[in-house]
């Protein structure tokens, strides 16, 4: 990767020189009508520049080769080059807490700045009475799972609710205690919600003591499968629940979220040092490789001690716009997924949940969830468990508009939810935004209001800090692929997303693999979908491709 950046840099310097060469003779051009003296001069200049450029290029390449040779086998990345990356970046301004050899700056990406950022305060919402675990939040399980309790049965938080018939040992457990009140089904009888009427005071099922220092790996796996922790793990490729037979190459955790209006994880995990560390220690037992932590290197704020002081992990610092905080992007830069590799990843809140299973000995998914979006006020964090009913969760806030869309998650990857539906299993964010079902006169030419866009045909690039009130209008109709190079601009990975998508559309299995479908997940391609001029449903296409490859 470093090699590539440097070659392209030398190349751009070279091309600037060539450009100078192009403009140089135009000064003398006015005076002489015959071309020969100009021609000789320019030939000399060109030769000198080309020779100089060649010397620089060869020296640089040799230096890089030598550096690579000396560092072979060592897990250190040093930029051995005449134009080290650190000179061009502002590594010199790096705060002292970021080690330079563990720092990666990603140039490509785009931050969608929206109104309605959550304020860093915690407000208790009224008691939410209904909770649900939705099998649809998980990839790779059968649509009709086996539900264990009978309707009306009392359950404790951590009691078994259902399991996938293909993997009966992996239990999905109740997030709260109360009464099991039945199922809700979607098309083809697929189970959509498994609902629990929550107690006012949550009673937990007490989990057995597990001493992580002496426990075998199989003990830990059985413990997690039996008591509901296993489903918090996610596997790349395919984003599925991991197969208990697999031993992951490595485990990755991204500790910052760059998605639009994303919650600040430094704030929302405060005070969870012990649980987080316990979770990390458990994960270390589950892999033969390393647990990697991706930290926020944007230097806007010091990462919380929960992450910065975590032990038994390899830390990497990332600077860049969205999707720099996506775990997929971080994996790509730390240690890419190749064919046949299996890695796991978790959200920090899920690490904490696993940690609490050891420290508190109970299944406690409570977390700070951010209520965001310009259409509700105030925007704040509230303490709740995933699976909470959306309508009840949002009863504490005031809606500014009637015609809104409630999204569980962020605006790029979240799911649209009605008041009767529930917060997603892995989510720590709710976004409320305006529905855009309006006609706009000449909207394609002169939109009536400012909107986020990567295109410089909108004045947004002049005001990079401007926050927008976005709506769900698609701003145009679907078309065939026309514009190229657009996706690459927002995806900081060595992947050709447009060609990957075309390979999926044409069902070209080998090309999908070759172009790196194993490294991609919906959240990584979501920003490409946002910028797409042809309004392609890229996440859907990618998911279809992943399903094909997975079979």
């Amino acid at each position: 990767m470093l090699m590539k950046q440097n070659t392209s840099k030398s190349f751009s310097i070279f091309s600037i020189l060539m450009l100078l060469l192009f403009f140089f003779p135009s000064n003398v051009l006015a005076q002489s009508s015959s071309g020969s003296p100009d021609f000789i001069t320019s030939m000399i200049v060109a030769t000198v520049i080309i020779v100089f450029g060649a010397i620089v290029f060869v020296t640089d390449s040799l230096l890089q080769l030598e550096g690579k040779r000396q560092l072979e086998g060592k897990d250190i990345k040093v930029d051995a080059s005449l134009f080290p990356k650190n000179l061009n970046g502002n590594a010199a301004d790096l705060p002292s807490y970021i080690p330079k050899d563990r720092y990666l700056k990603l140039r490509r990406g785009f931050d969608i700045k929206l109104e309605g950022k959550p304020e860093e305060k915690i407000i208790e919402t009224p008691h939410v009475t209904r909770y649900s675990v939705s099998p649809m939040d998980f990839h790779g399980i059968a649509p009709i799972p086996k539900v264990v309790p009978e309707e009306g049965d009392a359950v404790l938080a951590g009691d078994e609710l259902f399991f996938d018939k293909r993997n009966p040992e992996i239990k999905f457990v109740a997030p709260v205690s109360g009464e099991y009140i039945g199922l809700e089904r979607a098309e083809k009888r697929a189970v959509k919600e498994v609902m629990v009427l929550a107690d006012k005071e949550i009673k937990f099922r007490e989990l057995p003591q597990l001493d992580i220092n002496v426990a075998e790996r199989t003990d830990i796996v059985d413990f997690l499968k039996k008591y509901g922790g296993w489903v918090h793990l996610r596997q790349r490729p395919f984003d599925t629940i991991p197969n208990p037979e697999d031993i992951p190459r490595d485990i990755f955790i991204s500790t910052f979220d760059t998605a639009p209006l994303a919650p600040n994880l430094n704030f929302s995990t405060q005070g969870e040092e012990a649980a987080f560390q316990a979770g990390i220690d458990m994960l270390n037992k589950l892999t033969d490789g390393t647990v990697y932590l991706g930290l926020d290197g944007r230097a806007k704020e010091v990462p919380s001690p929960v992450f910065a002081d975590a032990k038994n992990v390899e830390k990497y610092w990332f600077k860049g716009k969205h999707p720099a905080g996506n775990v997929g992007v971080q994996i790509h830069h730390i240690k890419p997924i190749k064919k046949g590799d299996v890695v796991w990843y978790l959200h920090p809140h899920d690490v904490i949940t696993l940690g609490r299973m050891l420290t508190e000995r109970r299944y406690n998914t409570e977390r700070l969830v951010a209520l965001t979006g310009a259409e509700i006020s105030p925007n704040f964090y509230t303490r709740i468990r995933p699976g909470a009913n959306m309508g009840e969760l949002l009863s504490a806030v005031e809606f500014k508009e009637e015609n809104v869309r409630v999204v569980s998650g962020d605006v790029l990857t979240g799911k649209k939810k009605s008041n009767d539906e529930f917060l997603g299993f892995f989510e720590d964010q709710v976004t409320v935004l305006l529905e855009g079902d309006y006609y706009e006169p000449f909207g394609w030419l002169l939109p009536q209001e400012v909107r986020p866009s990567i295109s410089p045909t909108f004045p947004g690039f002049i005001f990079p800090d401007m926050e927008y009130r976005a709506d769900t209008n698609s701003h145009g109709e679907r078309r065939a692929f026309v514009v190229t190079g657009q996706y690459e601009e927002v995806l900081p990975m060595d992947i050709y997303p447009q060609h990957l998508v075309k390979a999926i559309m044409t069902n070209d299995f080998e090309r999908m693999e070759g172009l790196g479908i194993y490294e991609m997940s919906e959240e990584d391609i979501a920003l490409c979908e946002f910028v797409c001029t042809s309004k392609m449903p890229l996440q859907q296409i990618l998911r279809e491709g992943l399903e094909i490859v997975n079979e």
Binding site: L19, F442, W444, F458, G476, R479, H499, V531
Partner: protein, 418 residues
């Protein structure tokens, strides 16, 4: 207000099943007036405001300066040949009206044929009208000689749109640049209408000294009546081509006698500003550069392709200068940048995203090779001293191969580390 207009429009909505052609027209008109009320379904909940309509309209906007200058230059060249109003701004009203009357039929025929075919196919295939055709139709008049017979133009456009575009499945699927395909069709089918020294100046019997000027009733009755009433100078049907006039383009001159032969007829500033005979839109270099920089800055056209092409021209130009076997080869490489239609081809033709290479690295190669082959064809081809049309179509053909090679490198890198 908006709601009322929408309601009014909906009242007249044709039946999609029974009148597909009318419905397609209606849909095109509706989405032109109002961005549709579609909301995002699955996937992302918000979308960038950029769509294909906006992309395409920016290309058309960037062409407007070329249109303006091209219109005027048709008139200017016409009067230069007659030896009247030889100053650029003299007789401006005559030049403008003459150019307009020459350009408008070309513009209208191109759009009627191209849009007609697009509408027909859109209604037949049941998709909405694709905006790409508007850019092709806006480009075609600019790359045609001003005196082109309209029926030939119509046949060329129809060929390009049907065979070059609709046969492949419409916008986004075509292999060759539609505008250039129409030109290359005319170039091979009716070569005398689009090459040589005769065709670049409009409204003359021929470019030999003494041949008569051709004015129609529009000039002599309508315009002259209007100008007479306004007290301005009028079209004079008794004029004839003056001695020493040549309709040859700088390239034709350079081909015959090197750079000295060019500067005998045209000054450098003339060639730079574009007051020379040529295809309608390609003569004024500063105005094309404004368009090129605009497109690159707005990220609508790829700067990589443009820069790659410049590098290709410089490289090949230096190479041929070193060789220096014919008078044309001795023309210094930097003159090649602004004689002929290189800049127009660079800004508007090679950068068509559908037919160009689609990977960033591929774009460099693609641009460079167009520059290379364009210069080879321009200088070494004995019959026709210009190369961009053929070079771009050639590289259009090979751009999938370039992409394939770039992608294969990426694939191999990934497999090698596995």
């Amino acid at each position: 207000m908006v709601d009322n207009i929408i309601k009014l429009l909906e009242k007249y909505e044709p039946n999609k099943e029974k009148q597909p052609f009318l419905w397609t027209l209606y849909d095109g008109f509706h989405t032109f007036l109002f961005a549709p009320n579609h909301v995002t379904k699955a996937g992302v909940h918000i979308r960038d405001n950029m769509d294909l309509k906006r992309t395409m309209i920016h290309v058309v906007l960037m062409l407007q300066l070329c249109y303006l200058f091209g219109t005027y230059n048709i008139g200017h060249q016409h009067f230069l040949a007659l030896g009247e109003y030889t100053g650029f701004l003299e007789g401006a009203h005559l030049k403008l009206m003459y150019g307009l009357w020459q350009l408008l039929p070309i513009f209208i025929v191109t759009h009627v044929v191209a849009l007609g075919i697009e509408f027909y196919y859109a209604s037949k295939k049941g998709h909405s009208i694709e905006e790409g055709i508007l850019v092709s139709a806006a480009l075609i008049p600019l790359i045609m000689p001003p005196d082109l017979p309209l029926w030939i133009l119509a046949v060329g456009v129809a060929f390009a749109v049907i065979i070059g575009k609709e046969a492949f499945g419409g916008t986004g699927m075509n292999i060759w640049n539609v505008a250039l395909l129409s030109r290359v069709f005319i170039f091979f089918a009716y070569p005398t209408e689009i090459s040589g020294d005769e065709v670049w100046v409009a409204g003359l019997e021929s470019t030999f000294a003494g041949s008569a000027v051709e004015y129609g009733w529009v000039h002599l009755t309508l315009f002259n009546g209007l100008f007479g009433w306004l007290g301005l100078a009028q079209f004079d049907p008794t004029l004839s081509v003056v001695d020493g006039f040549t309709g040859a383009t700088p390239l034709a001159l350079a081909f015959a006698g090197g750079w000295d032969a060019v500067t005998e007829v045209y000054t450098q500033s003339q060639m730079l500003w574009g007051a020379i005979p040529g295809s309608i839109g390609e003569t004024s270099k500063p105005l094309i550069l404004i368009g090129a920089i605009g497109l690159a800055a707005l990220k609508i056209a790829s700067w990589r392709i443009m820069l790659g092409m410049v590098l290709g021209v410089v490289f090949t130009g230096l190479l041929l200068n070193m060789w220096g076997a014919t008078p044309f080869m001795t023309v210094p490489w930097y003159h090649h940048i602004y004689i002929g239609s290189f800049l127009f081809a660079m800004a508007f033709m090679a950068t068509d995203p559908v037919t160009a290479a689609s990977t960033n690295r591929g774009k460099w190669i693609y641009g460079f090779l167009i520059g290379f082959f364009g210069m080879i064809i321009r200088i070494l081809n004995p019959a026709y001293p210009e190369g961009w049309m053929l070079a771009i179509l050639l590289m259009n053909t090979f751009s999938p191969l370039i992409d394939h090679l770039v992608l294969r490198k990426n694939i191999q890198k990934r497999l090698a580390s596995a």
